[in-house]
Every structure is written in C-alpha cells, then in structure tokens.
C-alpha cells in the first residue's frame, strides 16, 4: 500500500477536509497492458489556491487536471523482456554507494585526521574524569556548566568548523535529533506526577502564569523588534509572520525555568518541602512552555495544498494531543510487557523513536508529543515506572551528549543572534523579577526568599536548546542561526552566571558547600 501523493486540486466538489489523493490512472478501454510505475510522471507541483477557500471546495479557482494527461501507456505488444524487468528493479537502498567518498589522494590524510580526532576525544574523556581537572572546575566555578554538558556544544561547533562533522554526516545524524527531542520531552513529562502537584503553594498557576508570562511577553517584544529592525536594515519586507514565529520561538525558549542542579542549589538553605515546591514550579514552567509550543506548532505549519491532510489550525491542536494520547496508550502497553533489561531498552528506544518520528512526520513537535506520552506513562497505574526510570537513566547520557554535539554542529553564531541573546537575557531577568514581585505578594508565600531568588535567577537548562533545534527541524525557512545563537548562548550564559553567583556566595562564606543539601 504505497503512500499516496499530495492532494492535487481537481476542481471537483470534494470538501477540503476530505481531500484525498488523486485516483490511480485508469486504462483506456483499448489498452490491455498495465501502466508501468516508472512511466507515471511525478505529481505536478501544487497550484496556488485561495487560502480563504470554503470547506465545500467551490472557491477553488483552478483548472481541472486530467490525471491521464501526462501518462504514457505501453503499447499492447511492448512486453518487457526479463532483462528489462530485471534492470527496472531498484537495488536495495541499503546498498547504495555513499554519496561523497573522499578522493584517493586525500584518503591517507583524512584517515590520519580522524585518528587524531579520536585521540583528542580520548584525551578529553580522560581529562574530564581526572580528579585534578574536576578540582580545577570547582575552583573556578564552572563544574555545573561542565556537568550540564555545554562543552559538548563547543565540541560539535569545533568538529563542524574543522570538517569532521560535515553537512553530509550531520544529515546522517538527523534522525538522532528527532529521537533526542522525543527523549527530552519524555523525560520532562515523566517528572510531572499530577498527584503531587496538590502540594504546590496556593496560586501556583498564577505564579507560573505571571512570572513566566511576563518574561515571555518581554522577550517576544524585544526580540520581535530586533528581528524587525534587522529586516528593515536589510531592506526585506516587514509584514511577515515568520518574524512573529521566530520571536515566539525565542520567547518560549527564553522564558523557561529549568529543573536543574543549579536551581536546587540556589535554594539550598530552604526546607526540603520548599525545595520540592521549587522543583514543581520549575516543572510547571516547562509544562507551560511545551503547551505553548503545541499552540505555536498548530498555528504555524504547512497548510493548503502543500499537505495531504486538510485541517483548520485549531484542529491540529486536537491532532497533537489526540495522537499523543493514542501513542501514549500504545507505549504504555509496550512498556508493561514482561521483558529482560536489554529487551526493555530496545522497546523503550523503539517507542521513543516511533513517537517522535510519527510526530515529526506530521510536522508536529516531537518534544510535545513525547512530553504527553511521558506524562501518561508516569501517571498511569502499574509497576512499570521503576523499570522505565532505570532505563531512561541508563540511556539518557549518551542520547543527551550526542544531541548536544549535533546541536553544536548545527550552530553557526551570528551577530544578530548575539544581540538577540542579550535582549533575551535582559528581558528574562527583568520579567522574572517583576513577575515575582507582582505575584509573590498575592499568594501564600511559604517559599522562602532564597528559593524565590533561585526561581528568578533560574537556569534555562537544555529545554530551550531542544526548542530551538525543534524549530530548526520544523521550520527550515526561519532565521535559524539567530534562534540557535540566542537560545544556546542564553542557556550557557544563564547557567554560567548563576554558577558564578553561587560560587561568590560560597567564597563569601555564607555557605559551606560540603553541607549543602542536594
């Protein structure tokens, strides 16, 4: 059952919402031989249509296309020989030669370069685990930045600049990005246990709404103005929804407070209960960001005759959450199957790849779909959670590091991006501080000042990078360099600034690091 081709306007009365691919060409009565697939020309490019076309399809102002117009039929007596039929069979794609072999004369040097790269990686791995290096990291206050994996971004950037991670290799690694995005979404979803949210302080939703909504609005305004200004300087049209979309992506990424070690460390003096509340607030923040991403994705997506599924934008929200629910139930059934550890890992990998793949295939965000799947898995009953968490822990590091390396390789910093990063950080801190001032006076304030300060200076974590990479995959027409520079740079600086701030506290003697509760 081959996948149908995109819907082609035929001028019929078919409703847009039920548009189906054109029927296969039928044979004229006097032709007895079947049409050979290779003789059927590719589907013609989509025609421009009125975007306001009504559901009954009557507004389509296109010429009817006869699907048989360009089809050549075999003559009745043109029976292909066995040799021709053999030659027509495609070889398995798995056996296709690689696209870009290295020229013969360059091969020894290329091999040496790769070997040196491997040795370099080995040296880094050795140094990274050496106690002396770890002591040095702690001394200069960057140990948490290193632990967050940000050096791997730099590694990817360097590897790309030095033609080790070439575009060709990156193309091969693209599926890993989809998998990693799904993985990150699943892990975030699995952190949220709905039953525990009842322990949040009164007005938690207001806290999240204002203290995250305000920075979001400020980043949106700031970065939107910046992108608009850049367009004006370049003499490009200003009325373009792409600017809004890109600014929204940066804002959604920049407003998030992540549940990281640094956040917990900021609230080290608070009670365990307060720290748990802090973590749950950060989780709610991530939840809000991902719901926002689902909306963004539903309203900025390919529509019309570019796609085979004709749905209003709002319906895509239902598709997003409906698909996540269905996939979640299937994955729930899969993870509950009795299995050995290696089988569980294989099934988990398969489930995440399938969920993120099916989301991406429908141009939905794998982050959002897998987040909902994770939410379902952790809140559905059963004894599967322990095994699932074990396997997630086992595979998280490799997937996460590969993701950061590939994200680093995709990153090509530009001036506009750095400017957007400055705007993002300024708007983020200002917005979170102002938002905090507005809401904390109105709600139950059992969260101590230290923890609240931690929330204001909360790190961005890696979710913003995932949001930016997600945008890079879904919207290749956007200003990706700017988005990636603003979010990656912002995430690194945010974590670094915070680590240095806590380090200053330690040096000032206000805290004994050895006695810090983790």
């Amino acid at each position: 059952m081959p996948a149908p081709t995109p819907a082609t306007a035929t001028g019929s009365q078919t409703p847009l919402s039920q548009a189906v691919p054109p029927p296969p060409p039928t044979l004229p009565p006097d032709t007895e031989q079947p049409v050979r697939p290779e003789d059927v020309p590719p589907t013609p490019p989509p025609r421009a249509v009125d975007p306001d076309a009504t559901d009954d399809g009557a507004a389509l102002d296109v010429d009817p296309v006869d699907p048989l117009d360009d089809v050549e039929f075999l003559e009745a007596d043109a029976e292909p020989t066995d040799a021709e039929r053999l030659a027509a069979l495609p070889l398995p794609p798995l056996l296709r030669p690689d696209d870009k072999p290295v020229a013969s004369e360059d091969r020894p040097w290329f091999a040496i370069k790769v070997f040196m790269g491997l040795m370099g990686l080995l040296a880094l791995a050795y140094l990274g685990g050496h106690p002396w290096v770890q002591r040095l990291e702690r001394k200069i206050g960057v140990s948490r930045v290193v632990a967050a994996g940000f050096p791997f971004l730099a590694l990817g950037l360097l590897a790309h600049r030095n033609d080790i991670l070439t575009d060709d290799v990156l193309g091969h690694l693209r599926p890993v990005l989809h998998l990693a995005l799904g993985w990150i979404g699943l892990v975030i979803g699995m952190r949220i246990e709905l039953a525990k949210l009842s322990s949040l302080p009164r007005g938690a939703l207001t806290i999240v709404g204002v203290s995250t909504g305000l920075p979001l609005a400020m980043i949106l305004a700031g970065c939107g103005a910046l992108l608009l200004g850049a367009r004006a300087l370049a003499g490009q049209p200003l009325l373009d929804l792409v600017i809004v979309r890109d600014a929204l992506i940066i804002a959604a990424a920049g407003a998030i407070a992540a549940d990281t070690e640094t956040l917990r460390y900021g609230a080290r003096k608070a009670s365990p209960e307060a720290r748990r509340s802090l973590v749950q607030l950060a989780n709610l923040d991530e939840l809000a960001a991902l719901v926002g991403l689902a909306f963004l994705n539903a309203y900025f997506r390919p529509t019309g005759f570019e796609v085979t599924w004709q749905l209003p934008n709002t319906a895509w929200l239902f598709v997003t959450f409906g698909l996540a629910l269905v996939v979640g139930v299937v994955v729930y059934a899969i993870v509950r199957l009795p299995a050995t550890r290696t089988e569980s890992i294989a099934l988990l990998l398969g489930s995440v790849a399938f969920a993120s793949g099916i989301a991406s295939e429908l141009h939905l965000s794998p982050l959002v779909v897998c987040f909902v799947v994770g939410l379902l898995l952790t809140n559905f009953p059963g004894d599967h959670k322990k095994r699932l968490v074990d396997n997630l822990a086992r595979l998280e590091m490799p997937i996460y590091l590969v993701f950061l390396i590939v994200a680093g390789a995709m990153w090509s910093p530009n001036l506009l991006g750095w400017m957007a990063m400055i705007v993002l950080l300024a708007a983020r801190y200002l917005g979170r501080w102002a938002g905090g001032r507005i809401v904390w006076n109105k709600v139950d304030d059992h969260l101590p000042a230290d923890a609240r300060r931690s929330l204001v200076f909360a790190p961005m974590g890696t979710l913003p990078i995932a949001v930016a990479v997600n945008a890079a995959l879904l919207y290749p027409d956007g200003d990706l360099s700017t988005i990636l520079t603003a979010t990656i740079g912002g995430a690194i600086l945010c974590e670094l600034a915070l680590a240095l701030l806590w380090r200053r506290d330690e040096l000032a003697g206000t805290t004994d690091p050895a006695k810090v509760p983790r």
Binding site: A3, P45, L89, G350, A353, F354, K386, V389, M397
Partner: protein, 480 residues
C-alpha cells in the same frame, strides 16, 4: 497483547504515511522507521520464537512485510537513510565476532577451519560457478555473452554467492546463548571464508572486467592492498584507541564503543576501507593482545538487541520478492546447489580434519546463511560490470533472500541438536544493576554507577550526587 500492539503500531504507521508535505525536508521518516522496525521486529521475533523459529527470522519477516514487497510502509528513500544504523550495526557485529575469536580457544579448531575454508568455501564457489555457466540460457543478463565472458561472469557469480553471514552467526549465537566447538568453528570459518571471498572477488573481478565490457582497472592491485591492508591497519589503530579507553577511562564504555562504531562505519566506506574488516580486526586484537576483551564484549552485548532488530528488519525490508517471479528458477537451482555443495563439502572437510562429531554433523548448516556481504558484493558487481551487473545483482538478491530467510532456521535447529545452546550465562548485564525510585530520578549521575556495577566494580553510592529524596538500591532482581 503483542498482536494488538502490532496492529496498533501498523495502523499508526499507515496513518502517518498518508500525510505528506510537498518538498518535505525534515527527514523524520528515518526516526519513525527505526521506531517502527524496533517495535514490530521485536513482536514478530517473539511470534517466531513461539513457532519454534529463530527470532531473527521474525525480525526479517517484520522488515519484509513492512517493505516494498508487501505493505510498502517504508519508502525506498527512507530505507536508504537507515544506512547510519545498519553501518553501525555491521561494525558492532564485526566487533562482537572479533572479540569472540580468541586464539587460545580457537587453536585446536584451526585445522578444521582451514579444511572448511579450502573445501566448503572454494568447493562451493566452483560448484556455483559451474551451475551458473550451465544455467546461462535461463539468465537474461548472460544473453549474448561469448563462452569466455560467460565463464568469467559465472566465476564472479560463484564467488559472490559463496559469501557467508557472520552477522547471522553472531546474532544466533547471542540469541541462544550458545557456545562450544561448533559455534566457534562456524564463526571462525565464516570469518575466514568471507576474507577469502573479498580477496578473490577483487582479483577475479579485475581479470574479468575486460571480458565483460568494462575497462580494466590497472590499479586493481593497489586498490586491493589499500582495501585489505588499510583496513587491517585501521583496525589496529581502532584497537589501540579502544585499549587506551578501556585502560585509562573505562566509563560509559557502551557509549564510546557505539561512537567508535559510528566513526568506523562513516569513515571507512568513504576512504575505501571495509568497515567489517576494520571492526573485526580491532575486536580480535583487543581480545587476543589485551586483557580487556571481556569488558569490550560486555559493553557491546548490552546494546546488541536494538542493533540486531534494526539491522535484520532493514535487511528484510530490502528483500524483493518480485525478483523470484523473474529469475525464480535459476535462483532456486543456485540456492539448492549452494546448500547441497556446502553441506557435503563441510562434511568432507570435517572428516578429513577429524573434527568432533557434533562439528562434523552440523557445521555445514552454520555456513549456509547469507546477508550483508553477498548483497554488498552484488552492488559492487553492478558498479564493476555495468553492462551485465544489474541483472546479475538482482539474481544475487534473489539467492540471498532465500538464504537469508530460510537458512537461519536450519542453523538454529543444528545448534539445538548439537547441545551447545544455553552454555553462556543468560543476560549477564541483568545482574546487580542499580535501580532508582521513580520520584527521585535525577539522570546522568546514575549512569556512571551502573557502568561500574556492570563492569563488576564496587559502586560507591556516596560519590553519587543525590537529591535527599533519592534512593539508590543495588538490586539483583531482573525485570520481568
């Protein structure tokens, strides 16, 4: 439940495939396909096991059903994108094979392996070449070739069709936890036999090229030396890197090995090396020259199941059943001749070498499966002999398709009857791995602890940065 899951996943896949965007470049199809193959291959593997067949036959059938021949759920282009996974899989499988070739235990079997290579490998090549020559009237691509050219073509076909499948042998051995003289003899023989096939193909191909309408490659010998020698040198370098890692770092070994397999798969092909040879020699060197063979083997084994699932399912999806409709008769005849010749000659070789009775009786069955190498040589044939290679490549596909699906079933039966099944510890990695309560999951810190415990090292839980709500429990239990 598994049937229901299978149906649900196929239904979702079918629905997803009906969505298409003009000029779609996001490349999500590969992730979807990998996920789909992992889940469906696992389920069909389980069904195959219930039916008394090897699981990997189930994996192949899952791919076959999803491929162009049946449901067409996997587009041709996406299948090509799976090269990243199959490349890594080949490297990991070859590494596994290398680490299992321990000279100390192989030495008593070398005489048998030598005779098997000489008789079962060379002899089968000759038998297949003669059969192909006799069948030339049934082979469309041999129409119009004069006798000399037909002999040359037959010789090339004989060599290609004699290839073995280390991947199937290693996968079945892992699946059935088998070990003993039969397993080791089969593994040694298929590795040795495939080396012979690679070298002979290059040599005979260079001689046959002018006869088959291709330009003679004056530098064929240089290419061969670069291909084989370079691969062995690269394998030595990879072994050196692995040794240094296992000696001085020894953390997240599985991640490092997978990354290394990716580098081997990506780089080797681009510079004319054979990834299989590179990884095989690296594994052999680590096993025989260092004391880290077991550590490496365990690290690979932990990630072997996903690799096998995707590799064999993708191989199944590449099978074209329609080939059998075109060249069905010669394909069946060649497959039968290959089977009979190999079984008979293997028996003769083991009798001459005084092999143990189990080896004598069953070793031929291990030499029957075919997969990757024969297909790769089939492709190389189409490139080397453009005038006749396309048709010949398709014929090879047909024979491989039969051997790929049927022969693992026979080898499984042979292993069962030989009594070597279950001799290795089942799922060693399941012993003593730390578990974390679901409400306390903090991520990477736990991984290092697992790696240490998996490597048999004591876990220093005090060194793990843990939230006050985290419980780390070293638990010997095994899920499921």
């Amino acid at each position: 439940m598994r049937f229901l899951i299978l149906l649900a996943v196929v239904g979702l896949m079918t629905a997803a495939r009906s969505f298409e965007v003009v000029g779609d470049q996001i490349g999500s199809g590969t992730a979807l396909t990998v996920g789909f193959l992992l889940i469906t291959a696992y389920m069909t593997g389980w069904i195959a096991k219930q039916l008394g067949m090897p699981k990997l036959t189930g994996y192949l059938i899952a791919g076959l059903c999803a491929g162009d021949s049946v449901l067409a759920l996997i587009p041709h282009a996406t299948l090509g994108d799976l090269k990243i996974f199959t490349g890594v899989a080949v490297s990991l499988i070859a590494l596994t094979a290398g680490t299992e070739l321990e000279m100390k235990t192989m030495r008593p079997l070398l005489r048998t392996i030598g005779w098997l290579t000489l008789l079962a490998c060379f002899g089968t090549m000759v038998a297949l070449a003669v059969t192909a020559f006799l069948l030339r009237d049934l082979l469309p691509f041999m129409e119009g070739l004069d006798t000399t050219a037909a002999v040359a073509m037959s010789a090339v076909l004989g060599i290609v069709l004699a290839a073995h499948s280390p991947a199937v042998v290693v996968a079945l051995r892992t699946e059935m936890n088998a070990d003993g003289p039969l397993c080791r003899t089969v593994l040694g023989s298929v590795v040795m036999g495939d080396l012979v096939v690679i070298v002979l193909f290059a040599a005979v191909g260079a001689l046959a090229a002018p006869l088959l309408g291709s330009e003679s490659d004056q530098r064929a010998l240089v290419h061969l030396v670069w291909h084989i020698g370079g691969s062995l040198v690269a394998g030595t370098c990879v072994a050196g890197v692995m040794y240094l890692f296992l000696r001085f770092v020894a953390q997240s070994t599985a991640l490092f090995v997978v990354a290394l397999a990716f580098v081997v798969a990506e780089v080797a092909v681009r510079i004319g090396f054979d990834p299989l040879l590179v990884a095989l020699s690296a594994g052999m060197l680590v096993r025989n020259l260092t004391s880290y063979g077991d550590a490496l083997h365990e690290a690979i084994e932990g990630s072997s199941l996903p690799v096998y699932l995707v590799f064999f399912a993708a191989a199944g999806a590449s099978i074209h059943i329609d080939v059998l409709g075109i060249v069905g008769v010669p394909v069946v005849i060649l497959a039968v001749v290959r089977t009979v010749a190999r079984l008979g000659l293997a028996r003769a070789a083991t009798s001459i070498s005084n092999a143990p009775p189990a080896v004598r009786k069953f070793v031929g069955f291990g030499l029957l499966p075919q997969a990757g190498l024969a297909l790769a040589l089939g492709l190389l044939m189409t490139k080397t002999f453009p005038a006749v290679g396309e048709g010949a490549g398709t014929l090879v596909l047909g024979v491989v398709a039969l051997n790929e699906v049927i022969m693992p079933i026979l080898y499984r039966q042979a292993l069962l009857r030989s009594g070597e099944v279950g001799r290795t510890a089942a799922d060693q990695g399941s012993a003593a791995y730390p578990t974390v309560s679901s409400d306390s999951y903090t991520g990477p810190a736990i991984v290092a602890a697992w790696d240490e415990s998996a490597a048999g090292l004591p876990v220093d839980t005090a060194s793990i940065p843990i939230d006050d709500s985290v419980r780390v429990v070293v638990s010997p239990d095994r899920p499921g």
